[in-house]
């Protein structure tokens, strides 16, 4: 029995040593992610009214995500690249399944697999930039018009599926993550300008295709005082929470806005406001700095990567990660309309945390395999 335990623990030790002795992972990135996760759990503990089971549940998801990260970091990018189209197709397939199953049930973003429920759109956030990078990898750069059109199709299909859920915010983020690849691939500035111009011209037409509630949200964002009960109430209460936090905050578990339930969704989409209320501007800036460091590190890893695919994936992932932070921060401070975008690795929720950590696993793998010649 003892031998069994000894051999088992010995085995685990060896595995552990193999992972950490030849470090596949980038230590600065790993440490900053750990710091972020700890901040997230602390704020969640307060936001959930000291609900231990909720915090432990989230911690368990972090652990699961970290294991995935370690596993993925050992897969060479060449292999990841080979798997990319399948990964993308799987994401598409799940989105279609969700559309068929979720028929007639309002905004349904969840796929119930019996054991776990998850959001295929979150998976797409990772699969999208990988797919575009896969496409551009063997082709001449900067991308030519015909490549741009092909990529437009690759981006458009999942974006439309997600937008139909309807989850406009996530759809836009998926589009953005694909666009970042194009940008990093060296798309000429004038082409970027032309595309933005075309987008601006199409916007009024797109307005007609929005759902009523989506238009309402945009209108509410422009005039929050017209809807003090619905989303306008959310924005106002969120701003009160942040503003009343001041420079140093009200202290852990002292936020009246979230404790008295003025603040909606205070464990998920609006958790940033809880942090702002309880830890003040100091807490906010510290968190933003951690995010900025993580993104900077991702881009640095990308710049040192060995091939086009790796560079594009790591770089676009970092930029997209930054966009999530900006969109969520802008939303809770009243700069942007209310869209259901969680604060990465801080908001309560499994799919988002696990997919993000898997994404960082890809980045780690790119870092670990940077010196290998192709």
């Amino acid at each position: 029995m003892n031998e069994l335990v000894a051999s088992f623990s010995g085995r685990m030790l060896r595995i552990g040593r193999r992972i950490f002795s030849r470090p596949r992972i980038d230590l600065p990135l790993a440490v900053s992610l750990l710091v972020l996760a700890l901040i997230g759990l602390t704020v969640l503990y307060s936001a959930s009214n000291l609900d231990r089971s909720m915090v432990l549940g989230q911690a368990a998801r972090f652990v699961a995500g970290a294991l995935l990260l370690l596993a993925v970091s050992r897969i060479p990018p060449t292999l990841l690249r080979a798997w990319t189209p399948w990964f993308y197709l799987l994401g598409l397939f799940l989105l279609v399944v969700l559309m068929v199953l979720g028929e007639g049930r309002g905004a349904d973003r969840w796929l119930d697999l019996g054991v776990v429920r998850f959001q295929p759109s979150e998976l797409m956030k990772l699969a999208m930039p990988m797919m575009v990078a896969w496409y551009l990898h063997p082709r001449p750069l900067p991308p030519r018009w015909r490549d741009i059109v092909a990529i437009g199709v690759l981006i458009g299909i999942p974006a439309i599926l997600v937008g139909k859920q309807p989850d406009l915010g996530t759809a836009l983020l998926i589009v953005a993550s694909g666009m970042f690849v194009l940008f990093l691939a060296g798309l000429q500035w004038w082409k970027i300008g032309a595309m933005l111009g075309a987008l601006a011209a199409v916007a009024p037409v797109a307005w007609h295709f929005l759902h009523d509630y989506q238009r309402e949200r945009v209108m509410t964002f422009l005039h929050p005082e017209n809807d003090p009960l619905g989303t306008g109430w959310h924005i106002i209460q969120s701003m009160i929470a942040v503003g009343s936090g001041g420079v140093f905050g009200k202290g852990f578990n002292q936020g009246t806005q979230s404790k008295l339930e003025f603040l909606p969704e205070h464990t998920t989409d609006f958790i940033f406001a809880v942090l702002g209320e309880e830890f003040g501007l100091v807490g906010v800036l510290a968190l933003l700095l951690v995010y900025a460091f993580i993104v900077g590190r991702c881009l640095w890893i990308a710049a040192n990567a060995r091939d086009t695919y790796s560079r594009l994936v790591a770089g676009s992932f970092g930029l997209a990660f930054m966009v999530y932070v900006i969109v969520n921060g802008g939303m809770i401070s009243g700069l942007l309309p209310v869209v259901g975008v969680p604060l990465p690795l801080v908001s309560y929720g499994g799919t988002s945390a696990i997919t993000l950590l898997t994404g960082f696993g890809v980045v780690m793998s790119i870092h670990a395999h940077r010196k290998w010649t192709p």
Partner: protein, 639 residues
């Protein structure tokens, strides 16, 4: 880079990527700085403003539940209104030891076990910072006692609210129904936005049927409160939109007259206007006080209602099923004519017993030696069984069922009340399904006199009669005639389904009417004398159905009325004025000895009230001939 701007090799690609990554990071970082700047603006420059807005939780959202719509009868009498009352509310968040607090509180304001049980139930449905009602309708002395002791009970408050009140108590309990506390099941189904702050919901009757109309739209108040949550001032107020007021077809005086006429007997009376399906009266006796249920009936009161042998909670008018007996004869006779099986003048010989051709089993008439040769009119007037035995047999059960279901037998009438039952119109399929037995021809025969498995609700019979009286035009019976958005708003007629024409030859209807006029207005009629002194001709039909099947073929010679009442259900249905009917009535007595003697006089009292209520300008002119006829009509009614 070459001429086309292509990146020649990986080194160039890498260098270019580095520049792009830097540019991307710079752009993103600038945006992040923008967001950070926004936080600086909110948390440094606007801090004072937001701090005051948050510090004392100054702005609280208070839901304003809408006042429930009122219910009026056809003459504008208020049948359901809202009266101001006070209740005890608890905010669970602010109570440290709930059980201890309740114990101390019950010394100040008496709390029954029912109150506490219900309160604990609704605790689960509310969030901790929401008010949960503990006791409704505080008396003045309870309110005063609590006011003096309030300081001992943080989180408990007395709040004004509007409570439902039914001024007529038991009179409309089976029609209007009642509202009650929202329970867990209902909570799950109701729209939380619409019912924020609402404690009651329609449970039965019209209150349930028209919940959507009666409820209204809640409003809200943004209230500024101090640190102790005391309201300081209202910042913004969007008033609630009250529910729609309902105007009913029912006539309170007629309803009351019907209750008085029943005189405490167990039964039901339904009166319908054949011209439009308006339900003028719908009475079930015994009834119960609907007000008992509004704020939670006590266990003792509820058990008393449940254990009462006369079942006051049963809505007999639309849920009670009784064999219709001879009241089906006019409908069957009409079917014989309309289906072309018989002419009105064709006669049948009644010898006292009817035999199915080729069978020796006999079916009896009410008189031992029969009524002789009778045509349709005589058969209805004298309620001759043999005529209808043979007609039912001739028609066959399939056509019989088809015809009777046209008049609504066997299915709910579709009145605007919840949980109506459709009785039973027996058919071979029905029997196979429910009893797994074959159909016998004899059962077709007894169906012809409304016996066997037939079950009819008083409402169904009144509806069928109204359809026949109104020239064969079937209007879905209904109670709601119009709605309005408040007293001064105009009444908006409530749409009704289109009527359906059931018959095709007015002559057929006329023949049946002659038979039914005979019932009331000729000495052979089973309700002779009922029309005495009434200015219009009354057409009617009696019915006496047996509760138990007879144990032997012998004629029962026990004529004791109490004994018969225990075995019989007494029916009477009638309409008037005969030529232009304006009211059709069905009366049922659960313990009536004979339809003609027990049930018919009740219908007459309702008709008298109808006459007194209806101004002459709204009735047809009184026919001179009918007055002459009435003068000669005298003598007791025979069964």
């Amino acid at each position: 880079m070459n001429g086309r701007g292509e990146l020649p090799d990986d080194r160039a690609r890498r260098a270019h990527f580095g520049r792009r990554a830097l540019a991307g990071f710079a752009i993103m970082f600038l945006m992040l700085v923008g967001v950070a700047g926004r936080f600086v603006y909110l948390q440094v420059f606007e801090h004072a403003e937001y701090s005051t807005r948050a510090k004392a939780n100054r702005v609280r959202l208070k839901h304003l539940p809408p006042p429930r719509g009122l219910i009026y009868d056809r003459a504008g009498r208020l049948l359901a209104d809202n009266v101001p009352a006070f209740r005890l509310d608890v905010v669970p968040d602010k109570v440290e030891h709930m059980d201890a607090m309740l114990q101390r509180l019950s010394a100040v304001v008496p709390l029954t076990d029912d109150d506490i049980r219900r309160f604990k139930q609704s605790l689960k449905q509310h969030r901790a910072f929401e008010q949960v009602p503990l006791k409704f309708r505080l008396t003045e002395s309870e309110r005063d006692r609590f006011a003096v002791n309030q300081w001992q009970f943080p989180g408990v408050s007395v709040d004004p609210y509007l409570t439902r009140n039914y001024p007529y108590g038991a009179e409309f309990a089976h029609v209007i129904g009642y509202v009650g506390r929202i329970d867990e099941k209902e909570q799950a189904k109701l729209d939380p936005d619409l019912y924020a702050g609402t404690t009651h919901v329609g449970k039965t009757g019209l209150e349930k049927e028209y919940e959507k109309l009666l409820h209204g739209t809640p409003g809200y108040e943004l209230v500024e409160v101090n640190a102790n949550q005391r309201p300081l001032r209202v910042l913004q107020r969007v008033p609630a939109k009250p529910g729609k007021n309902l105007y009913l077809t029912i006539d309170e005086r007629l309803q009351r007259a019907a209750i008085a006429a029943l005189g405490g007997q167990t039964g039901a009376v339904v009166a319908i206007d054949p011209r439009n399906g308006n339900v003028l009266a719908m009475v079930t006796a015994p009834s119960f006080d609907a007000n008992l249920f509004v704020n939670g009936i006590s266990q003792a009161d509820y058990s008393a209602l449940l254990e009462d042998p006369e079942k006051p909670l049963l809505n007999r008018a639309m849920r009670g099923g009784y064999p219709p007996g001879s009241t089906v004869k006019p409908f069957l006779g009409l079917g014989g004519l309309e289906l072309g099986l018989r002419k009105a003048t064709d006669t049948v010989l009644s010898t006292g017993t009817y035999y199915i051709p080729g069978s020796s089993r006999g079916y009896r008439d009410d008189t031992r030696y029969g009524a002789g040769r009778v045509n349709l009119m005589q058969a209805i007037t004298r309620s001759v069984n043999t005529y209808f035995y043979s007609l039912a047999y001739q028609m066959g059960i399939q056509r019989f069922d088809q015809w009777m279901s046209k008049f609504g037998f066997g299915s709910p009438t579709g009145i605007d009340l919840p949980d109506e039952t459709g009785g039973v119109l027996p058919s071979p399929e029905w029997k196979r399904k429910t009893m797994n037995q074959p159909w016998y021809p004899g059962e077709t025969v007894i169906s012809g006199i409304g016996q066997g498995y037939w079950m009819v609700t008083p409402l169904q019979l009144a509806h069928a009669l109204a359809s026949m009286a109104g020239g064969g035009l079937s209007h879905t019976p209904h109670l709601l005639t119009a709605t309005s958005d408040g007293l001064r708003a105009p009444e908006v007629p409530y749409p009704q389904p289109k009527p359906v024409q059931l018959t095709h030859d007015p002559a057929d209807l006329a023949a049946v009417r002659v038979g039914m006029l005979g019932v009331v207005n000729t000495p052979q009629g089973t309700a002779w004398g009922l029309g005495k002194g009434f200015p219009y001709l009354i057409a009617g039909k009696t019915g006496t159905a047996e509760r138990y099947s007879r144990t032997s073929d012998a004629y029962n010679t026990n004529k004791n009325l109490d004994y018969l009442a225990s075995r019989h259900r007494a029916w009477f249905m009638c309409y008037t004025p005969a030529e232009h009917p304006q009211i059709a009535i069905a009366v049922l007595l659960e313990h009536g000895a004979w339809g003609g003697s027990a049930a018919a006089p009740i219908a007459r009292k309702v008709l008298d009230q109808w006459l007194a209520e209806t101004p002459p300008s709204e009735r047809p002119p009184v026919p001179v001939t009918s007055i002459a006829t009435q003068a000669g009509a005298q003598g007791p009614a025979t069964p």
